[in-house]
Symmetry: C2
Subunit: 257 residues, 2 copies
DNA sequence: ATATGCATGTCGCAC
DNA sequence: GTGCGACGTGCATAT
């Protein structure tokens, strides 16, 4: 790993130079010090002086962290432009977004520690058990929904949006499935009803609506009855393991060929 | 400001001791080094080795930041418990949540920099131009909606939720207003319709539904017509400035008394 | 604990 | 660029 540059209590002029250079060279910067922050854009905020951790990433993301809380108190997403200036009393960092009119303005009255890093991170990231994975699992094993169920189309476009899974049951009824990776609330049912209404206008065949999710919210179960929708319990982790197995199968198949 | 403890390339045993102590004493810890991460809980993820910034806050929040991106690649919200262990080759940090079964497991193969901070942050934070502010502005100036509009109730409870603003127009029609601080989509209209349906069952008076938002989504504008709902453009910043003015008025009033 | 809706949500993807 | 839905969303609030 490349050695970081560490500056303890740099004066503001020096800090300005270092940060400017670091941003230009697309390094990662960590500033620890006492600052106040003003944000203005879609909304507006003010934050009085306090000791914080400020992170500037090489892609132009800005994070201002207080000593507590998971969320940054102020921030800018990636692709920001920075203007840094200083005098004897303070260091000012202004970050503006290229696309939207959003501005974060930081004034440091004290800098305790300034670190410049050149991080190398090629690590692969994989996330399992998403809603996408649940749909894939249904594709691989339509019987997860019920025996004899066949898929006609995925992500079928209908006017107000996309039907997650569109298929036909063994009796020939059309089936519209809304997939949720966590507890399905009324919004899931509303979404499904929307699709059922639209599709029912396009066909005279009988239609079934199914919510496939790990669980159903209590209030949603009442709606279920009134709208005559069905619920199919579907565990995202089970879905993830099905995909995992399938991957292995493919590999063995490939090896066998 | 209290001086931070800075350790360059500490050995794993030392790092373990320091982090353990820091967590126990509710300090803020920053670890910069090469690590891999496994997450498991609602979903599951793996992240290969790479150089990252790991932040442990005194409230038990955990953030793992790659050199790019606004969001942490892995994380835990506040109130986590940490288990730290080490051997000659690696430092392991496991964080589990108290309430939910969620676990993040970090393995460091190299530690470049370990910093322990005792940040003091009493700065006041204020956010303006929220949806709440828009409602307040309507309260202060009902004419923002239209001339002659009078408010009956705020956040009126009806069965499926709360009506943002409930009032009466100069002709005596009941008015139900749904406020949105950004572009109102179909979900806003669905919400409003829900309230209109419920209220229409409770009264025989004529009812008007109004979406008050800075803008209306295109698809939503079609729905607007079909449901015979009105749209009132309302800028959140204008609302914020109305509140600001009102504050000043109160101050002058106070001074005058 | 559960449910519901907001957020400077952010992000990705389709149009 | 805009629109729309997912997210390990987090978070506050009301029941």
């Amino acid at each position: 790993m490349e050695e970081p540059l560490i500056f303890k209590k740099p004066n503001f002029k020096l800090a300005e130079e270092i940060i400017n250079k670091a941003v230009a060279l697309k390094k990662t910067v960590i500033i620890i010090g006492k600052c106040k922050v003003n944000y203005s854009g879609r909304a507006k905020s003010t934050l009085g002086f306090g000791e914080r951790i400020v992170l500037i990433k090489k892609d132009g993301a800005l994070l201002i962290h207080r000593p507590i809380g998971y969320l940054p108190i102020n921030w800018q997403p990636s692709n920001c432009i920075f203007q840094i200036s200083s005098n004897n009393e303070e260091l000012k960092i202004k970050s503006v977004r290229k696309d939207v009119k959003e501005e974060v303005f930081i004034v440091f009255s004290e800098i305790l520690l300034l670190t410049v890093l050149n991080l190398k991170d090629e690590g692969e990231f994989n996330l399992y058990a998403s809603e996408e994975d649940m749909k894939k699992a249904i594709f691989l094993k339509p019987e997860l929904i019920e025996e004899g169920f066949k898929i006609i189309e995925f992500e079928k476009k209908v006017e107000p949006g996309f039907i997650d899974v569109y298929g036909i049951d063994k009796k020939g009824n059309l089936v519209i499935i809304e997939v949720k990776r966590k507890i399905a609330g009324k919004e899931a049912i509303m979404q499904l009803m929307k699709y059922i209404n639209v599709v029912s206008k396009l066909t005279s065949r009988s239609l079934r609506g199914i919510i496939a999710a790990p669980k159903l919210a209590k209030k949603a179960s009442k709606l279920l009855e009134t709208f005559n929708i069905e619920f199919k319990s579907l565990n995202p982790k089970v879905c993830a393991s099905i995909i995992e197995n399938e991957k292995n199968k493919k590999y063995s198949l490939k090896e066998w060929l």
